[in-house]
Amino acid sequence: MIAFFGYLGGRLGRGLAVIVGVLVLSFLLVRLAPGDPAMLMAGEAGTDDVQYVAKLRHDMGLDQPLAQQLLTWLGQAARLDLGYSYRNQASVWSLIAERLPATLLLMGSGFVLSSLIGVAMGVLAARSQRRRGYLDRLISHTALVLYAMPSFWLALLLILLFSVLLDWLPAFGMASVDTDLHGWALFHDYASHLLLPALSLSFMFLALYVQLTRSAVLEAMGQEYVRTATAKGLKPARILYDHVLRNAFLPVVTFAGMQLGQLASGMLLIEVVYAWPGIGRLLYDALSQRDYPLLLGIFLVISVLVVALNILTDLICRWLDPRISSGS
């Protein structure tokens, strides 16, 4: 138990260092890009008043030296104060809190869809391959096609097919406006809005899961412990679930941890295409408006999410394979 807490403490410490590193790098990269938020805001206000621009820069702290701004921001972040978005006239926390649930819902759904279907298809393909079946080739080729398609393009095709032509699903948004829905009707409304974005987000990763699971299962099936289990007279299904999958899952779980980080970036395009009111779009808007506090706040939240999920992945791997320990 002490070893476990030591391991966890180490991972948390490294995670914290990664977050701080990401924040410093993000801060510097954002500032390296041209674009002045004060000038943009003054332009939107239709004013060419130099004093107004100077006042805005002062209010935003942009008249301070860069190092001072960085230290100030890190100090605020340490106190969990992410500052104020002048563009949106709201605190950064409130803006993120408003959008984060939508993103988590989409991200979670995309993750569940891609991992469950991908792993199931991968196992099916591996089993079919051993029987030299057509199913393996069908699944593998479909996966390859899905992987090769840009997700935003696929998203548009899905909208055209299921929303415009067939009229089965809504084309945009997270829920219907002006509805007084409860219970099943409310669930149905959210689910029908969620399905296409979640599918679009999951397809690319689904393909990777298929290929990864397929090769991992095939490799595990060739191991001697599987032959031993077969010789002992165990049923094929039990060999698959008790022995093959447990070992084959290690690379899959590791990939899942990485995927969660990539999902965050994949969401940006999907949220734009489906007008999904999530954090990806907030990030896009903040970037185009050079809303520095909001940008850094979003970077912080995404970094924390990715690091936390990676630690969780490590813990699951450790549980799946007890040989993995802090020292080895």
Binding site: G46, D48, V50, R87, Q89, L156, D167, W168, F172, V177
Partner: protein, 538 residues
Amino acid sequence: MPTSFSRPAPSGWRKSVRALSAALLASACLSITPVWADPQAGGVLNLVSQPEPPSLMHGLVTHVSSQYVSGKVLQGLLTFDTDLKPQPVLARSWTIAPDGLTYTFDLQEGVRWHDGQPFTADDVLFSFKQFYPQTDTRLAGIFNEFIASIDKTGPLQVVFHLKKPFAPLLSSLGSGLHPIAPKHLYEGTDFRSNPYNLKPVGTGPFVFKEWKRGSYIKLVKNPDYWKKGLPYLDEIVFHVLPDATSRAAAFERNDVQVLRSGDADYADLSRLSALPGVASSDKGYELYAGLAFLQMNLRKPPLDNVKVRQAILYALNRPFIVDNIFFGAGKVAQGTFSSSTPFHDPQLRQYNYDIAKAKALIAESGVDVGKTHIRLLNGEKGGAWERLAEYTKQSLQPLGFKVDVVTSDAATWFQRVSNWDFDLTYNFVFQIGDPYLVTSYLYRSDNIVKTTPFNNVGGYNSPQVDALWNKVADVAPGPERTRLYSELENRLNDDLPLAPIFEMRFPTLYHSQVKNLLQTATSLNESYDSVYLERSAP
């Protein structure tokens, strides 16, 4: 319960079959189905808000997206018909003294703000004596120069006393740019951070209800609207849809009933306008009179040479640009001022596409235009503008220019152009009625200031032109003012500090069930108090 015209989301293939059957039946019955003859009350109008507005007080933000939404909530003294003649809104009537020095406005009676407070002359005084002088530096400059005082002569009467005649005064008091701000909610506050900028309280036909950021903005009918019996609509919902293709799909599904110019890609316009039940119109932008132009930085060679600038305009095949790059969404510019306005001189010399003449002008200039690379800064305005930048590069190559197209995002473009860090760039201006009010900022030397891309960023400095701008402001409308504007436009046409490319057409696509949509010179940003949705009779 309001009647929504957006489709509910059916849940299965059976619904699509039912929908198809219904569509076939509807089309079969169309010729015999009666429609209501008079405006019908009720219904929800679904519109697109893109980009999401930064504020809902459009007196503070000149963003079109803000005007589009809050134009239904907030109102100004007057608006303009399609001939740019002022029409009453909160000002019931007005009189102008013969010497042009006194404007008396009588305000509408019985008007209340959405929170129940009465609208009075104090609100108008507050708006034009405190609110706008602090928040709109350009209007403040005009008022400083021309306005002696603004007085209340009764609870519903306001008088503007001028120091000297200022012909464009009425143009500057329109609902589109300067809505009246509620004194009781703004006085004594920091106007720019006032919370009511995000939940506006106005006098308009629609009351702000909800802004779910990233999703939609909802307005509901004002039951106490001062025009009795109006508005017809129960609600207006502005959906925030960031992707052009998704907006087109939503329009095709009738999830949204109107697409403004720019909501759909230019390449998609002809397909969408050909859909059954869809109408298209260029009306409603007369006040804006958009003009796209090639901005040139006159500070360094070779663009400091007038013959080189003229050669550039001769080398650009503008009919090709309009027809093939913008898919007909425009008209070749005839001069500095929009040809749809009375300020344009129809006798102006034209720069018709003539590559031989362009080469001759380069030769005459004696400038080696290929000596240095020229940066054409391309902002993030959409695919057509990117193609225009590439086309420009190709068109100038035969003249010997070495053009590098530098593409950047909107924020970078904004900063670089504001800081004069460019050689060429495309931009556009809304003339907003009288050219003195907005267009002049592109040319007057007192607007060579590093704050915005929408002033004299090219560094054009002509004392004669400055003097002409000052004169047109002082002279009352009439033949003398027309002559002055003609002289001004001719001089600018010769100096060519920026090259007018095309007058922008703003096609609005809408489902024909939407009635009374385009009625004034700023139709889409109007209050929509008379807009209604036509439904078939039961």
